[in-house]
């Protein structure tokens, strides 16, 4: 399952991020590591981008970006 498929309020655990480009580096820098717990806060009015919470902060990312993050729901 990938991050963009989660529903608002769902919590999940990051399993892997595909690729080695700048997007991946940025997500990693922002703390989206393997094993990290995240929660989907919601989606923007037009369905994209989405907002997630991890640790003590919130990130917004586009669905195409979220699709690169595979997660396991908890």
């Amino acid at each position: 399952m990938t991050l963009d498929q989660l529903l608002p309020g769902q919590r999940a655990c990051v399993q892997a991020i595909q690729g080695d480009d700048y997007l991946v580096q940025r997500l990693l820098e922002m703390g989206l590591l393997e094993g990290e717990e995240i929660e989907v806060v919601g989606f923007a009015p037009f369905g994209d981008p989405m907002e997630i919470r991890l640790q003590d902060y919130r990130l917004s990312l586009r669905r195409t970006e979220a699709a690169r993050v595979s997660v396991r729901t908890i």
Binding site: I17, Y22, V24, L28, G31, A44, R58, L59, L61, E65
Partner: protein, 765 residues
């Protein structure tokens, strides 16, 4: 003589950590903004004194990581490493971190620790952390990190003294002893690479070369040369096999180190409390309420720059005219008077006239940014803006450009991605700004009002606005696929906590924006105004050798005289009327002498009857013979396919300083005198005059037809006849390349648009 070097302190930190507030708290009013060559970001510099010593303070743009992707981001690394363009290494780096979000903020700190300079950590926003039930043992943290940690609340000024003390102490201490240790396999590769790039390259850059795939370091170190790129790739592959994949290895190593460094000094509540941000976000990013509130806010922003600024702008305009009249009153006619009144004062006025809009827009932007809403606005609008290759943060700059591109382009500073920012800057002038309105109104009023259904004028005006709205996204798309091509910009954006905005910060940013505009763009605008003034002024003598200025002054004097006579005649006539109606004569034979005086005045007035026409004719001859007029004539073959004669061409060139000048210039050319483009009466009389205009070569043929009027309007919808916009692009991109590019592409677009409009229009109508 001993040269005492001022110790330098560099301030780094993530966005939204209160970095600007801390900078202001340290430097006070003592600050200035600087540009380094080749980069578009600004670095703020300031000074502070502590214990009889002066410190130079440099504020770097907020960043999450020191992995440079562009020259802009490289600047931060270069400054700290002491590479050019900076001369020497900073003595201390202050890393500001948000205590309520410690781990993520420490990521950047671990990179700074590797740079081999003394570091002080400013642990800011302790109050926000406390509110969330987070407690941090700063002493313990300092011990674990190996650098001083100062708990602070920069917005209240708490901890500033302690920070200064820590800076003064750190200045002479050795660089940080500890930082994250990468796996041995990685260090081996760094060692090997170091040997091949040479010892003059700092180890930090070698690590970046290995870690940042497609990063700026590859270009910076000339990665293509000597097969360096191949060696780096091979190293990355070996690391992958050794279980240290790039780039994941960096985050793993750093966050691993951070977790163990913070484990025993931070306490979080077992359950995260529901914060104000949670509650606010539920409304402000809501599918319906969020959008509604956003629309209301944007309406307010637009209203304010479009309408609230208007009265102030009109006052500035009037003040400018008064001052010009004053100068004309006390100086003798001549080049100097004209330069002052028509060049300098008009130029300075047209710089200051932008200030109300800039100040108001920046007050809004600073307010929205400081309270945390800006990220939400970008979140809400991203989907729409991404359709044309931009992102959510381009929305406010483009919306503002509908009022005026100058504040709009300045507002692109909120866009971090360089390519997205450039694309937004380059298309912003296509949005139909308020300076185009007078041009539309004259032409629509003259050609598309009488004899047309009621909806035609409105629809035409709407179509002119729609041109910008349609063309701008298309151009943005094309630019993002050609000139500004590159990997899809990463949108990932932090949604900061909401907080009460600091009015002092808002005030400061507003003034900064205004001052920057006046100082950097103002000079260019003024210069271009003076150039166009000179092109319209010279040659300043009529063929018979007389000075146009003197001739104009003489005619203006006669006009004054005429007005006085007309007034006197009216007074006499009044008195006469009263006497005729049976009032007793106060003086004998009063009626007769009044009659005589009126006859006398009528005779004089008859002589002066054509003074206004003569003045208009003189102005028209002068401008026709001016350098610009000659340029217009020379360019007639170029503008003829658009249906224009040389006069329209010349007026279009003369409007380079600002589009609305077109209307005034047309007024001169078409014998209506120098009118005010905002005066409806002037516009309608000008409209009537241009309807009558005929071609020089063919007096039977009207110059203006509906296709010509449309072609002029389309030209002005698409062209970049606005020196202020170009000046501000030059300022914001720190290069002449982009304003020149904007001018060229928009002029080509405008020409083609006008050409198609005229050619197709002539076939249809």
């Amino acid at each position: 003589m001993v040269l005492v070097r001022t110790p330098t302190v560099v301030l780094v930190g993530n966005p939204n950590t209160g970095k600007t507030t801390l900078f202001n708290a340290l430097a006070g009013m003592n600050q200035r903004v600087g540009n380094y060559p080749g980069v578009t970001v600004e670095t703020k510099k300031g000074r502070f004194r502590f214990q009889d010593e002066t410190f130079e303070l440099i504020d770097l743009p907020g960043t999450y990581s020191l992995a440079p992707r562009s020259p802009d981001e490289m600047l931060a690394v270069e400054l700290i490493l002491g590479q050019p363009p900076a001369e020497s290494r900073p003595d201390v780096v202050v890393a500001i971190v948000d205590a309520s979000n410690l781990d993520r903020n420490l990521y950047l700190v671990t990179q700074v620790l590797e740079l081999g300079v003394p570091v002080v950590v400013a642990l800011n926003m302790m109050d926000v952390a406390a509110k969330q039930g987070i407690t941090i043992d700063a002493k313990q943290l300092a011990g674990n990190l190996g650098v001083p940690v100062v708990p602070m609340q920069a917005n209240k000024g708490l901890g500033v003294f302690e920070l200064k003390t820590a800076i003064a102490r750190a200045k002479n201490s050795p660089p940080c002893p500890q930082f994250p240790v990468f796996p041995e396999a990685f260090e081996r590769e760094v060692q090997a690479l170091s040997e091949s790039v040479g010892s003059q390259v700092p180890p930090f850059l070698v690590r970046r070369l290995l870690l940042d795939i497609g990063g700026y370091t590859e270009r910076f170190l000339d990665g293509e040369k000597n097969g360096l790129a191949n060696r780096v790739n091979a190293a990355r592959q070996r690391l992958q096999q050794a279980g240290c994949p790039v780039p994941a290895i960096e985050a793993r190593t750093r966050y691993g180190w951070i977790r163990s460094a913070t484990a025993d000094c931070i306490q979080r509540p077992p359950h995260r409390p529901v914060t104000m941000t949670d509650r606010l976000d539920r409304i402000l990013t809501h599918k319906i309420w969020g959008l509604l509130i956003f629309l209301v806010l944007m309406f307010l922003v637009f209203e304010s720059i479009f309408f609230w600024a208007k009265p102030i702008m009109e006052l500035i305009d009037q003040g400018k005219d008064k001052l010009a009249d004053l100068v004309k009153g006390i100086m003798a006619p001549g080049a100097l008077r004209s330069l002052l009144a028509d060049g300098v004062i008009a130029g300075v006025g047209s710089v200051i006239v932008f200030l109300p809009q800039i100040l108001i827009l920046f007050a809004f932007i600073a307010f929205l940014e400081d309270c945390g809403y800006m990220a939400r606005a970008a979140f809400l609008m991203d989907k729409i803006m991404s359709r044309c290759g931009l992102n959510g943060k381009s929305f406010i700059p483009l919306l503002s450009s509908v009022a005026c591109a100058v504040p709009g382009i300045m507002a692109t500073r909120v866009i971090e991605n360089r390519r997205d920012r450039l694309a937004t800057i380059l298309v912003a002038p296509l949005m139909s700004c308020s300076a185009r309105l007078p041009v539309y109104l004259v032409l629509i009023g003259a050609f598309l009002t009488r004899g047309f259904p009621w909806w035609v004028p409105g629809l035409t005006l709407f179509a002119m606005y729609a041109i910008g709205l349609v063309v701008a996204p298309l151009v943005a798309l094309v630019l993002k696929r050609t000139l500004l091509r590159g990997e899809t910009p990463v949108f990932v954006m932090e949604m900061p906590l909401y907080k009460r905005p600091s009015l002092r910060l808002v005030w400061r940013r507003m003034l900064e924006a205004g001052w920057m505009f006046v100082r950097r763009a103002g000079t260019i605008i003024l210069a271009s105004m003076i150039v166009v003034w000179a092109l319209l002024y010279f040659p300043s003598r009529a063929p018979n050798g007389e000075s146009y200025d003197v001739l104009t002054a003489k005619l203006e004097e006669r006009l004054d005289e005429k007005q006085k006579m007309e007034k006197a005649r009216a007074d006499f006539q009044n008195e006469l009327d009263l006497l005729e109606n049976g009032m007793p004569e106060p003086i004998p034979n009063r009626k007769r002498s009044l009659n005589e005086a009126i006859t006398e005045l009528d005779k004089d007035l008859a002589e002066l009857e054509n003074a206004q026409d003569e003045l208009n004719q003189l102005q028209r001859d002068w401008k026709g013979r001016s350098i610009l007029g000659q340029m217009g004539k020379a360019l007639e073959p170029v503008v003829e396919p658009l249906g224009w004669d040389w006069r329209i061409g010349m007026a279009a060139i003369a409007s380079f300083p600002a589009r609305e000048v077109f209307v005034g210039t047309m007024g001169i050319i078409y014998n209506q005198g120098r009118g005010d483009s905002k005066d409806p009466e002037f516009r309608s009389s000008l409209g009537n005059a241009i309807k009558e205009a005929r071609w020089d070569a063919d007096p039977e043929r009207n110059v203006f037809t509906i296709p010509v009027a449309l072609s002029v309007m389309v030209f002005f919808a698409l062209c970049c006849q606005c020196a202020s916009t170009l000046a501000v692009i030059r300022r914001e991109t720190n290069s002449w390349r982009w304003p020149i590019f904007t001018f060229v592409y928009m002029t080509v677009l405008a020409y083609l648009g006008a050409l198609i409009t005229y050619q197709v229009g002539s076939l249809l109508i």
